[in-house]
Symmetry: C2
Subunit: 181 residues, 2 copies
């Protein structure tokens, strides 16, 4: 069943995950390949989305890391201010990376850092007028483009996929220890 339609030429569907699993079974029978057809497409899709987003953002004059930072602040609503720690929790990167992102964005005049008034030794990061304008300008472009990329799924398929991803994520989280390492 793998030999029909032998690849007479290049790779129309370049190296689908099933072929990787089959190759391992051929080379090392018994290799635990059950996960490959789930994990590999997820990685590839993540990269396809990330690369496409980079392209869209380059045209808008902003990069993905900055979009992520400005988005999370914008989304939190007025007064468009979050502490460094809150930002780190809502994002999948380390505190050090947030520090650097904020430093770059501040250098570019997109956010402002102010000593936190509330208790702890926090630092509040808030949007400047420029930062607010930039995120307003970018978010529709990025999300609109991504909506177009997933349009091939029917509403039903989309819902099934969302539910399955949710269940998978719950399991993975539980087994890896839910907090970021």
């Amino acid at each position: 069943m793998a030999d029909s339609t032998a690849a007479s030429e290049g790779l129309r569907t370049p190296y689908p995950a099933a072929e990787i699993a089959a190759a391992w079974q051929r080379e090392r029978p018994g290799t635990p390949t059950e996960s490959i057809e789930v994990v590999t497409p997820i990685w590839w899709l993540a990269k396809l989305f990330a690369d496409d987003r980079s392209r869209v953002l380059r045209e808008a004059g902003i990069d993905a890391a900055t979009l992520d930072l400005l988005s999370v602040i914008r989304r939190s609503g007025p007064p468009y201010t979050l502490s460094t720690r809150e930002i780190a929790q809502r994002t999948l990167v380390t505190a050090g990376a947030i520090s650097q992102r904020v430093a770059r964005a501040e250098r570019d005049g997109l956010v402002r850092r102010t000593p936190g008034t509330t208790g702890r030794r926090t630092v509040e990061v808030s949007l400047t007028t420029d930062g607010h304008a930039l995120i307003e300008r970018s978010v529709d472009a990025v999300l609109g483009r991504e909506a177009a990329l997933v349009i091939d799924l029917t509403a039903h398929e989309r819902n099934s996929l969302i539910k399955l991803l949710e269940k998978l994520m719950t399991g993975v989280r539980r087994r890896t220890g839910t907090s970021q390492p």
Copy 2:
């Protein structure tokens, strides 16, 4: 339907994608958020898998980039040799990155570079004894761990997910231009 079970405390399920979409709708009604619940979980899962894999590999004394390189050569079968170009095609990184990966692996004695005998100005990369031993030692650990991470899905759910991811990837590929930019 979003307000029931208000988050009285921290974030048991930290910032699920649905909340992000809801936040955008609250802040900017009309924002095209249809893709968020699909794209965001895919990114998060990719990162969860990548981080977990890094952890497993650190214990095995190898990094993800090297695993990727040795795997693709090992999987190709005897004589465990591929040209730089073939490796780049089977991997999602640029030719420059492959060049650097091969240089590092060669420095560590895991692969060997030889001028290609067949026609073009190719460079053949082949596994050394050490490289072969290292990949044999690592692959079961990595794939076994990943199989354990996806075990919560039933066979039926797993198949549905695979099919949906395949369909999504096909569409995204077509709309972004199938070859890597």
